[in-house]
């Protein structure tokens, strides 16, 4: 079998997903965060952004960073089907990343949310953008969600009042493993969207251009004293 043919066998079947329309959110600090869907050529900057957090155990950054690194790499190298990533940037610098997967017309599988810039609810805004993509753009009926950190549990399970589907285990089992599965249904989304999801469209050309070339953060609050390239 030719290598190209074997590669084709290894790649998952994919459908073409509707694109997520970029938006801009004015954060409490007054900074504009451009939220846009990632393109394949962003993978290097995304991986480089996530990598330094692999050793941060506080708030389970290590678990989330390791899993997200795997997801982005697998997406880049065609080993995961129908995955998408959304990035938030401030002046081009990555402030946060979310990953997720379209399972079928009814179901979305939320993967991870990684907040780089803390204290401005960047993660909350990006998570809401991810749900917006699943339910409003891709038109799925519900999204399955798990939390791997206490912060995630507080932000998603409690604040969104997600439906607990853990009693359905093992039939209802999130792809990330045995962590209890919760669901954001369309009905729940309709109720929380006005207070959770915001953003202005279209994004001005200059802002969009600045968000296209991703800049990896030079410092992380999660890594005191660390500097990129030092």
């Amino acid at each position: 079998m030719a290598i190209d043919a074997l590669e084709q066998k290894l790649r998952p079947p994919e459908v073409t997903l509707k694109p997520y329309p970029a938006k801009v959110i004015k954060l409490a600090s007054g900074e504009d965060m451009v939220v846009r869907e990632c393109r394949r050529e962003d993978a290097g900057a995304l991986l480089g952004t996530v990598y330094p957090l692999l050793g941060v155990s506080k708030d389970f950054y290590d678990v989330v960073a390791a899993r997200m690194y795997n997801e982005i790499l697998a997406w880049f190298r065609y080993r995961i089907a129908n995955m998408f990533a959304i990035v938030g940037t401030i002046d081009g610098v990555v402030a946060g990343i979310v990953t997720s997967r379209h399972v079928d017309q009814k179901l979305g599988m939320s993967l991870h949310t990684l907040t780089i810039k803390r204290g401005l609810r960047v993660g909350a805004q990006l998570f809401a953008a991810k749900m917006e993509h699943h339910l409003d753009v891709l038109g799925e009926e519900e999204v399955w969600i798990v939390a791997e950190s206490p912060i995630g549990f507080k932000r998603w399970m409690i604040e969104y009042e997600l439906e607990d589907r853990s009693s359905g285990f093992p039939a209802v089992r999130h792809e990330l493993g045995g962590v209890p599965t919760y669901a954001l249904t369309r009905k729940l989304w309709e109720a929380v969207r006005p207070v959770k999801c915001t953003g202005t469209r279209p994004v001005a050309d200059a802002q969009l251009r600045s968000a296209h070339k991703l800049i990896m953060p030079s410092e992380y609050v999660q890594l005191p004293g660390w500097k990129r390239g030092a």
């Binding site: 954060l27 409490a28 007054g30 401005l120 006005p194 207070v195 959770k196 915001t198 953003g199």
Partner: protein, 399 residues
């Protein structure tokens, strides 16, 4: 005649999330910081009395006898040690009791250390735990929480005096500007009025918590600790400490009805007024003598109300002063120079001591660049327990 009593050491941890540590570690950190500030850790053996302020370790951390534990952790046995619990006013109450211990002649040096770890539970559980200080039958069992109370209170004030949601946001912008420069603050990010009030995304970025209160009208849930060392300035022991004492000039405390509905006018905070009057009388000063103040802004409406009750502004006019930037760091009367509870954070049992640490820092001239008040003489802190039913006011003086 009571001796002169001053503060010779201050300690403070970075407020925020201390989930890697246990409560006693966090309090011990600030206590050790205070001894280092005063001249060295060996000074802990000069302490005659330890008072620990904490509101709810039993509920947040499933821990009791925190004072005994702290003394042991600090290797300070057999120093007497007690816990002081007065809701969110526990910190200032502990300082007041420390003052009384020295004034009574039973002690010359008192360590007051305070701390609370609240982020061990979810925000909703923290709100529930704090709500247990409301009246059990008339308030708590009816579902009232402190944000709920503050929301109703704000609505009433708006109706009576014309306060707007934008005015609340202006207080938050001012507090966050100060907090952004405070290395100990939980939230060190400045916020803009456009982003949290005027802009297109403001409704979500600054979402309602208890209408009309929004996220930026409300303090965060915070872990943290603070400590001060009180000394009888006329005692020979005072000479052991390196720092010039900042004198405790006035102390006042007062209570009000437990049930808010038993008050003639819910917008009148008698305990705040009385406690401040008592503190002014003891210090021999009035509102016009105060150079800056730390006011208990668990909700920004409290900053406004308290600033009126203590006589800084006429009733119903404080928000106009905020509009005119009179309470900014370079204004006529800077308020919440630390960022206040709003930005610095509000680890409930520690807040009163943290406020007093800020007074000392300002009076010594040790605040960070950009948030140092110019040549302050008197600083005032109001620590507010319950829904204004147990209030302690402290006035410090730079002699």
């Amino acid at each position: 005649m009571a001796p002169r009593i001053g503060i010779v050491g201050i300690g403070h941890c970075r407020f925020g999330n201390s989930s890697d540590y246990d409560l006693v570690d966090v309090i011990a950190y600030s206590a050790a910081d205070a001894f280092l500030d005063a001249g060295g850790l060996a000074l802990r053996h000069q302490v005659d009395q330890v008072l620990v302020a904490n509101m709810a370790a039993g509920m947040f951390n499933h821990q009791s006898a925190v004072a005994s534990s702290l003394v042991s952790r600090m290797d300070m046995e057999p120093c007497p040690a007690e816990l002081v619990e007065n809701g969110p006013a526990s910190g200032a109450s502990a300082v007041r009791l420390g003052y009384m211990a020295i004034a009574s002649g039973m002690a010359d040096v008192v360590l007051v250390a305070a701390g609370e770890l609240m982020r061990t539970v979810t925000g909703w559980e923290a709100t529930d735990i704090v709500a247990t200080m409301a009246h059990p039958e008339a308030e708590y069992n009816m579902g009232l929480t402190l944000p709920g109370f503050a929301g109703m209170f704000t609505r009433l004030y708006m109706k009576k005096y014309g306060l707007t949601e934008r005015d609340l946001a202006l207080v938050a912008v001012k507090d966050h500007a100060n907090g952004a420069k405070n290395t100990y603050a939980h939230v060190q990010i400045p916020v803009t009025i456009e982003a949290i009030a005027d802009g297109e995304n403001a409704d979500v970025v600054n979402n309602y918590v208890a209408e009309p209160l929004r996220m930026y009208s409300t303090c965060p849930v915070t872990d943290g600790s603070a400590a001060v060392i009180l000394v009888n300035m006329d005692s020979p022991k005072a000479r052991l400490f390196n720092k010039k004492p900042i004198r405790i000039a006035g102390l006042g405390a007062a209570t009000d009805t437990h049930c808010v509905h038993n008050r003639k006018d819910p917008l009148v905070l008698d305990a705040v007024r009385l406690s401040s009057e008592r503190a002014y009388r003891m210090a021999g000063v009035g509102p016009k003598d105060i150079s800056f103040a730390e006011l208990h802004d668990a909700f920004v409406i409290f900053e406004l109300l308290i600033s009126e009750e203590v006589g800084f502004f006429e009733r119903g006019k404080s928000f106009l002063a905020v509009r005119e930037h009179q309470t900014d760091i370079d204004g006529r009367l800077p308020i919440n120079t630390s960022g206040g509870l709003k930005a610095k954070g509000h680890p409930v049992g520690a807040t009163g001591v943290s406020q007093i640490v800020e007074l000392v820092r300002q009076l010594r001239g040790e605040a960070e660049e950009g948030r140092q008040v110019r040549d302050p003489k008197y600083g005032m802190a109001v620590n507010f327990g319950g829904f204004g039913n147990n209030v302690v006011t402290t006035i410090l003086a730079k002699d």
